[in-house]
């Protein structure tokens, strides 16, 4: 029930956003596919950062365990904040890549 409600509501707001974009803002519908592609690229970049962050932190934990006398739990890696941090890193990196691909402005 809750899942259906959430899915239906997200569907409605998506349709609403399409109408606002197409009608009120005059955005070309033909470019929607390309925009979705760009969104997928950004999500992919965030996931790459997440994988790199988690793998690196596990390796650090294992190295610290091997070298130092103190025990560090691998569960330190299991924190939702990694997703937020990876989101920031991934979006920033993707924007940087995007800006590098654009032609330089007049000034």
């Amino acid at each position: 029930m809750e899942a259906t409600f959430i899915a239906a509501l997200a569907g409605l707001t998506s349709i609403g956003a399409y109408y606002v974009g197409a009608r009120a803002l005059g955005l070309p519908s033909a470019r929607l596919g390309a925009a979705v592609g760009k969104m997928l690229e950004s999500v992919g970049m965030v996931l790459i950062f997440l994988a790199v962050n988690l793998t690196t932190s596990v390796l650090v934990v294992l190295v610290v365990r091997g070298l130092a006398d103190t025990f560090v739990s691998a569960y330190a890696v299991d924190d939702a904040v990694w997703l937020g941090l990876s989101l920031i890193q991934g979006l920033a990196f993707q924007s940087w890549r995007g800006s590098a691909a654009e032609p330089a402005s007049g000034r």
């Binding site: 029930m1 809750e2 899942a3 959430i6 899915a7 592609g37 969104m39 997928l40 690229e41 950004s42 999500v43 992919g44 970049m45 996931l47 790459i48 596990v58 025990f71 739990s73 691998a74 569960y75 299991d78 993707q94 890549r97 691909a101």
Partner: protein
């Protein structure tokens, strides 16, 4: 240069698409519940020599995590059903606070379990260490069969470790095996499963199981 960028974009798109599909399937389908059920197998609630309740997590102030409480309650329930004469509770401390095993033991005593039927182990820090410590604790007592209590995803890793330690293991999942309907609960369940899968993979690569 352009080709490299395009290829990079394609890789990002594919990963992004896979991530979104995984997210939607996890949130809006019973996949996590089905996987959990499959990993839990059917618990074999038969009389055994001991009940072993693996550690979860405790806060520095001494509050058991939800998972730790679930496992403890399951262990207490098994004991009260007369399935084993000994209850072994595991778990160390966090940040110098009280140990998880002692807090659990206090709970078990509150539920009427005699102190002499409770054993605690507070030094093990990983599942592998838990198996080794429990072996050292129970082998002299001649314990062969154990009811191993932990969450279903963790059982996949814990069971072979305890079998390697020489026990005949009857896995008893602590999870409430009811289908979570809320997307957030499904995502949380999938997160636990992914974490446990990675833990299992690490133990396999390291040759522990």
């Amino acid at each position: 240069m352009d080709t490299t960028v395009r290829r990079g974009d394609r890789v990002c798109r594919t990963i992004g698409l896979a991530g979104i599909v995984f997210f939607l399937v996890s949130a809006f389908s019973p996949l996590a519940y089905r996987l959990n059920q499959w990993m839990a197998d059917s618990p074999r609630l038969v009389a055994s020599d001991a009940i072993v309740v693996l550690g979860g997590w405790i806060s520095p102030s001494g509050m058991l995590s939800l998972e730790s409480l679930r496992r403890t309650n399951r262990g207490i329930e098994l004991y009260r059903r007369g399935l084993a004469p000994v209850l072994i509770l595991l778990g160390g401390s966090t940040g110098g606070g009280p140990t998880e095993a002692e807090v659990r033991a206090a709970q078990a005593r509150l539920h009427g379990i005699p102190a002499e039927a409770i054993l605690t182990e507070t030094r093990a820090r990983t599942t592998r260490e838990e198996a080794a410590r429990v072996k050292a604790l129970l082998e002299p007592r001649g314990v062969r069969t154990v009811l191993l209590v932990t969450n279903a995803g963790h059982l996949a890793r814990a069971r072979p470790l305890f079998e390697r330690a020489g026990f005949e293991v009857r896995g008893v999942p602590s999870d409430p095996l009811v289908g979570a309907d809320a997307p957030e609960s499904r995502i949380a369940q999938m997160r636990v499963l992914v974490k446990e899968f990675l833990g299992w993979l690490y133990y396999r690569i390291a040759g522990y199981i």
